[in-house]
Symmetry: C2
Subunit: 355 residues, 2 copies
């Protein structure tokens, strides 16, 4: 792509947040990337501009019909001051997978990555340095036609915003309690479950709120057809270590193909651990637990990297996994992935990309 | 509710569009209604302000997580110059049904209707008068926290915008060709299908685009579990006249409870026609067609009121219904409903509300 990214720098740089009290997704950096799409003209006018409010007609299609996609990845600062991205091409490719399902025009993934890097270079000082902190990157695309009527929009905006975020685990990794959802359904084959699109998250809220009220951190979804196959957890894919075979639900169209999921599979394989992607029922998990062979369970995702599951509750049947403690594989995957991300562990896979 | 609606009138009234070339959802009136919600404070600051662009942070939750709902209804001008709404309480109640599913705080339906009436009174001159034209009303609620993270927003905006729209049928009612979707799924029980929320429409786009390419106007959805029960069409509910019994899919949580659907059922009952709400398979329809008992099929919705179905295509099996012509019941329902809406037919049901 021969597009040139114009840069307009802010006149009012903001104060950086106190690194010790960083939360998640509340503070944004000084600049953002914005690119427009117009039918017949393609993607055009890529620019880096000061971060700030944008004007939208109340009739803008995104408010009414949800035609949009997004991504989430992070930039990490190493001890030596280098800035690393973790498999960013994967996120860019996933944008196009989501785009295709939502009838949003394809982006040039190389150019998008170039734009992302240019933005991060400019915002380098916003990347926090303390252990476990990072710069969260949110690329997203929204339909912008000022039009009421159900059809794909003819105009879009592709935006990238950045948010310095705190360490996910401030007091050591604590396994979470997960509620297995038997009533609400997040996605079904033939639907939009595999796309990273707003509708999936809107759909998940009610179940999550109800699980929280019952004292559970997150929800484990079951498939929408038979309500017996395990799908994914909130914003994480799931893995189960049964008798030293690690099993994760196969990608059947209703769950997101997580970058951390893929990396976990590769890592385990490189260690000689048996990994299987297949359909797995919630019953099988409970049976394995009863037999004492459910050794570990954990979620994988960009935010937490690895989140051990200490407890499952399914139809009032509560099981504790690994005594509610983090398992050895979970620990090892966590240490290795974060080690690679922060440049402390050799990156044999060529996963990191320096900005 | 004791809230007072403040009114700020526009300084730059727009020119009204040429009534003979009105489309749908492209032109908006001079004013809109806006009300804010803040956690702990409730809904507050209802106001009528000039229609125009609004400012949103790019981190606004609606862009990322799709927590939103909307409605669609119309205001009609009678020959005598009266302005009528058709069962607007139903739409306000449906807002709260959608809100509940999407974890959006309830609205006061009486107050919302009062606000709607106040806005329409102010915009009275924007209601077109030609046969079949009307003022389309779009209330909607969007999550407005500037925050990245999956949880219900703590702030919202409830907005009502108005758009003068042309007659749906400019050259007489033409039955449509419908593609029965066997691959993509719109909704599943346990999901959000019954709510009027952006995600459902985003999800439907790809199937609709593909059906259009094959020469079909709309898609008939099948249930997400067994892919055999008939659900609804695009933005319409569906009815089938089989052997003089009118059958429409029952409300099982995956389709919208249409106001036109409900009115059609009431109307048919008042005429002594047998109406049944139940699950109906696509196979049953094809069997009835083969036996010659599938007399009529039609969709119901606010936009078209009644849309006769002239052709169905299911797995390459194409059937013609009623010779591709509008059936007698469809005609009668259309004439009666539009008659009531425009004040030409006596409203025995108390459906219309004068503004
Ligand atoms: C629904 C869902 N599943 C899984 C994941 C994990 O994906 P990743 O490892 O790419 O962050 C995410 C987060 O992006 C998600 O939103
Ligand atoms: C999905 C869906 N089904 C059915 C309908 C018909 O509903 P109503 O008759 O209330 O317009 C609509 C339109 O609002 C819709 O969007």
């Amino acid at each position: 792509m021969s597009l040139v990214i114009s840069v307009e720098k802010t006149q009012n740089p903001k104060e950086k947040p106190d690194p010790s009290s960083l939360g998640f997704g509340q503070v944004f950096t000084d600049h953002m990337f914005v690119m427009d799409y117009t039918e017949g003209k393609g993607w055009h006018d890529p620019k880096i501009v000061p971060y700030g409010p944008m004007e939208f007609e109340p009739s803008t299609m995104i408010f009414h019909y949800g035609q949009a996609i997004f991504e989430g990845l992070k930039a990490y600062k190493t001890k030596e001051g280098k800035v690393l991205l973790f498999r960013p091409q994967k996120n860019m490719e996933r944008i196009n997978i989501s785009n295709e399902r939502l009838c949003i025009p394809e982006i040039d993934t190389d150019f998008a990555l170039e734009a992302l890097k240019a933005l991060i270079k400019l915002e380098k000082d916003w990347i926090p340095e303390a252990e476990g902190t990072s710069l969260y990157i949110r690329p997203f695309i929204i339909a912008t036609d000022p039009f009421l009527g159900v059809r794909p929009s003819l105009t879009y905006k592709f935006i990238i915003i950045l948010s310095p975020v705190g360490a996910y685990y401030k007091e050591g990794i604590n396994p979470v309690k997960i509620y297995v959802e038997s009533d609400y359904v997040r996605a079904v084959r033939g639907g939009i479950g595999y796309a990273k699109t707003p509708g999936n998250y809107a759909c998940s809220l009610k179940s999550q709120v109800e699980a929280n009220k019952k004292g559970y951190t997150q929800v484990l979804w079951l498939d929408g057809v038979e309500k017996k196959y395990v799908e994914e957890v909130g914003t994480m894919n799931v893995f189960f270590n049964i008798d030293n075979e690690v099993i994760t639900p196969s990608l059947e169209g209703s769950i997101l193909a997580g970058v951390t999921r893929d990396s976990t599979i590769e890592l385990l394989k490189s260690w000689g651990v048996k990994v299987t992607e297949r359909k797995i029922t919630i019953e099988e998990l409970y049976d394995a637990h009863a037999k004492g062979t459910l050794i570990e369970a954990f979620g994988t995702g960009t935010a937490a990297v690895i989140s051990p599951i200490g407890e499952l509750s399914w139809n009032d049947n509560v099981i504790k996994i690994n005594d509610g403690k983090i398992g050895s594989l979970s620990s090892k995957i966590y240490e290795t992935l974060t080690g690679i991300q922060y440049g402390k562990v050799e990156d044999k896979f060529g996963w990191t990309v320096e900005v």
